[in-house]
Symmetry: C2
Subunit: 336 residues, 2 copies
Amino acid sequence: MVTIKDIARKAGVAPSTVSRVIQDHKGISTATKEKIRLIMDEMDYRPNVSARNLVLNSSHTIAMILKSEAHDAYENPFNNAVYNGVVEACREDGYSIISTTKNTEREILEEVKSLIRLRQVDGFIVMFSKTGNKVTEYLTSVGLPFVVVGKDVNQNNDAIYIDNDNITAAYQLTQLLIDKGMRDIRVINDDEGFTVAKDRMKGFKDALRDNELDSDECIIQVGSELEEIRDTLNEAFNSKQPEGIITFDGFLHAKVLAALYELQIRVPDDMLTATFNDSPLTQFASPPQTTVDIHSADIGREAGRALIGLIQEPNKLKCNITLPTQVIERQSTRKE
Amino acid sequence: MVTIKDIARKAGVAPSTVSRVIQDHKGISTATKEKIRLIMDEMDYRPNVSARNLVLNSSHTIAMILKSEAHDAYENPFNNAVYNGVVEACREDGYSIISTTKNTEREILEEVKSLIRLRQVDGFIVMFSKTGNKVTEYLTSVGLPFVVVGKDVNQNNDAIYIDNDNITAAYQLTQLLIDKGMRDIRVINDDEGFTVAKDRMKGFKDALRDNELDSDECIIQVGSELEEIRDTLNEAFNSKQPEGIITFDGFLHAKVLAALYELQIRVPDDMLTATFNDSPLTQFASPPQTTVDIHSADIGREAGRALIGLIQEPNKLKCNITLPTQVIERQSTRKE
DNA sequence: TTGAAAGCGATACCAC
DNA sequence: GTGGTATCGCTTTCAA
């Protein structure tokens, strides 16, 4: 294996000089820089990550923290897509990723603390946004860089927040259904706690209000089990079957569709359906679903880049990032 | 940060002794072992990974190599599930993972070579099995440990192979359809090259033969685009519409279902459908699909464990691992 | 603008 | 059984 000393010897300079060239240090003549770069290329030199990490006391590793049932987390295409985006961003700069899931905030906090000591993580991507988030509070207090995928609830200037404009997205999706002549539209959701759900709810209600539709009693809260969902829907539809439904997450939506199938409700003939977070689960559903593409992989890529930027330059200005959304209409809202 | 020297000082021993205790070295008295372990606990000592990697010239990192379009690879639930299994196995031993996808074997080979130098990967998980696999040949030649997810095509004793019994699984799935009275069953597949497809094909044909059914002309080869699939199926069904179809991969199957929907072929009323690789895509399809659960996450876990075992003990006997499969019947094959 | 040398934290060889 | 110490590859002062 070729080391920094080999390069130095061949170039007739000291290892420290080579090290400076690697870092494009100002104060090294262009001549030597070029000479040494050439030799590094020739010898196909790659710096040893462990050695560098050791002396810099960093791990070149970031952690991605999810909050949910482990099983669900890894099956939900949204998380996978974001993860892949993060992977991409990390590869560009040679970072590694640790990804963990816990169910409660307490457990997450433990994990975060242990991660900080145990593996020397350089920063965190927190995959959820909530008011009174203990995890972000803790990270702020210890001063470790982190970015949050979600909304900046209380204008936290210690971190970068990556989000879509979920209010507008939900407004547009709802408007699409209203434009189809739907008057009775309901929302299906499984966890009210997250900011993303609140935003989507707001967009939904705003759209109803602007179209002078009533927004009372149009929220259906469900669990995560298929049978449970089916029964809840069945009961909710008992008095009056809505003309259209919007689910706040694509993964949940797949279960809703399976439930509708069991209830013998046909899409789009009996009911229009639409959801958020486009993925194969919605693209290749039967029928393919109208969704809001929130560009999950891009969220991940931006989150990764932002975090790495923060790690390398902790004092840089922390500006939040809002990614565009796009309503994709498919057959689930196309009644002949 | 507490280091090995701090422990040594507090215990009144040399750093080397502490190091030996960490490795549970035989030749250290139980008394000192216990004493030092206590102190390590008290001081909440964690070995520095970078330092250890540096001196051991290892990276504590394994690579997972996929062969397909990047986009597809990360959307296919099978790959994600296997990956999660690998993650779990790696976490147990503190290993990190690099995952990459390339389209051609040439590109993969380049990536592998570069990975070996660039990041000092300790071993590989090769996510495909083929006859004449250049990647496994190369890895064998350089002597780096690797495991293959797939079938041991030519009794390669230099690596561990993790696989299901795909022949039997396909046989059982086919038999299930035959038991439903289906006589005209077709297979849909997108890539014949992989061993897994060959095995499933054999199981399928064996089942037909044992039931005295004709197996000619029952293979439908499709591409990966939805429109393409729809057109191919439409044409294939033109002369005679089969009574049942089996797709060799669950991700492809989702597209097939979407195509059937467009062609206005109803499942299970007009046609029974079944596939491999159970996932949310098949569980929550409309209708939920009969599938073979190949326990993808377990494949990943076993692959990870096997690889780590190989890394830590390169000369240990390399025995292949066969995981069980399980046919799960759902509504797609239940005609009222 | 460059060089010499100390040191990051852990391991393993050679002594005793 | 245990201790002393060179070593891994790189960065970074301090000097020149």
